[in-house]
Symmetry: C2
DNA sequence: CGTACATTGCACACGGCTGTGCAGTTGCAC
DNA sequence: GTGCAACTGCACAGCCGTGTGCAATGTACG
């Protein structure tokens, strides 16, 4: 064991990657999954995991950093160069959807692990960006809601979680999920259902 | 200790009630709260809790049964004698909102505790009632959505969670929360925002 | 006051998870 | 094939949570 730090051996890299992938899936199922569960699911012994990550927190930390980065990138890409808040929100949802599992992991972990309250603050840039988008839409009349923009942002977030669960349970075909999510989010923000459907249909080529 | 089962002593009853109330709040904060956390929060020693409930599962089971009963009652009361699906959904949300914390507890526990998968099945009557309501609304045109009724039910559920969190974080005044929740739910089900607002305003006295 | 019961404050055994150490084995690479 | 790094298997200590037993203390009620 000892020195696994050289970082050019193919086997070690592949294992590390696989451990991270499996850990994401496993922690998604159960945010309190033990190191042993993760290790076995990755086809590896617990001791090996400790060869790649000094402790549980480090493993989760890596996962969190990757997720935050991927999420922020997708969200920013969705907004890029779009001035209309309605279309921007639709594009954001479509862009974020493919990596939504990572978002879900972040929130699940942020609720459980006390040490990880840093997640929320690392996530605030993305969230305040959403709030700003919603606020602009409310101001210029594209959106309509009984809620202030920050509360509406919570609702939008939860809608995505609800749809992830629906897809998980086979209630929505995975292929349609992204478009349905975008349409539903727009609708809940007060965009007329027909307009939301045509707009999303147009964007998603 | 031994016989605390006679059940007519005022002190014992008061303690039992307090333990249940505190346990609800504590498990809401952390679904994995230990017996010691619950006991101390109730101003009691751990050993005393085991005098009222044989084990952790029994305590949670009592909480679950009460919550299911309260929730089903509120939901049924909201639908009672209302034939229009849109108005019925609005009334359901308004009726369920005051006891929403119990609903939240159920779902939080159902996700964590493996032994408690019975929660989901004990909850299905309420859920299928919601689905039926949404389906009728979609059929007769009161609702409009990109989603099938079962998936829309998930979304409605999650919207309520999102708003509970928003209230918790001070983003929505508690007094307005119920009306805002009902309005938002109707909106996300495709009811035009203006119609949703006036309908909810009319129902809430 | 005295009785009956609730509550407390220890004690313990048991099990699970974490993080670490060390000897042995496997597999990739040169 | 030889060697080095990664992987394995086991053993260990420590911590935390559960559930139980028992003696002592508190408290209501006749």
């Amino acid at each position: 064991m000892a020195a696994m730090t050289t970082g050019s051996t193919s086997r070690a890299d592949a294992n590390r990657r696989r451990i991270l992938d499996v850990a994401l899936a496993e922690l998604l199922r159960d945010p309190d999954a033990s190191m042993d569960q993760i290790a076995r699911a990755a086809g590896v012994v617990r001791r090996t995991v400790y060869g790649h990550f000094p402790n549980r927190e480090a493993l989760i930390g890596t996962l969190v950093d990757d997720a935050v980065q991927a999420l922020a990138a997708a969200h920013a890409a969705g907004r890029a160069g779009v001035e209309d808040p309605v279309e921007a929100l639709a594009r954001c949802v479509l862009a974020v959807w493919p990596i939504a599992d990572r978002y879900r992991l972040l929130v699940a972990l942020a609720q459980r692990t006390v040490t990880m309250q840093g997640i929320r603050e690392r996530l605030t840039p993305v969230r305040s960006s959403s709030v700003e988008l919603l606020q602009r839409g409310l101001d210029q009349g594209g959106f309509r809601s009984a809620l202030p923009a920050p509360a509406l942002a919570y609702v939008v977030e939860q809608i995505l979680f609800g749809l992830m669960e629906a897809v998980n349970d086979g209630l929505v075909p995975p292929g349609e999920a992204a478009r349905a999510a975008a349409t539903t989010v727009l609708t809940s923000a007060g965009v007329p259902a027909s307009r939301a459907a045509t707009l999303v249909g147009r964007i998603a080529e």
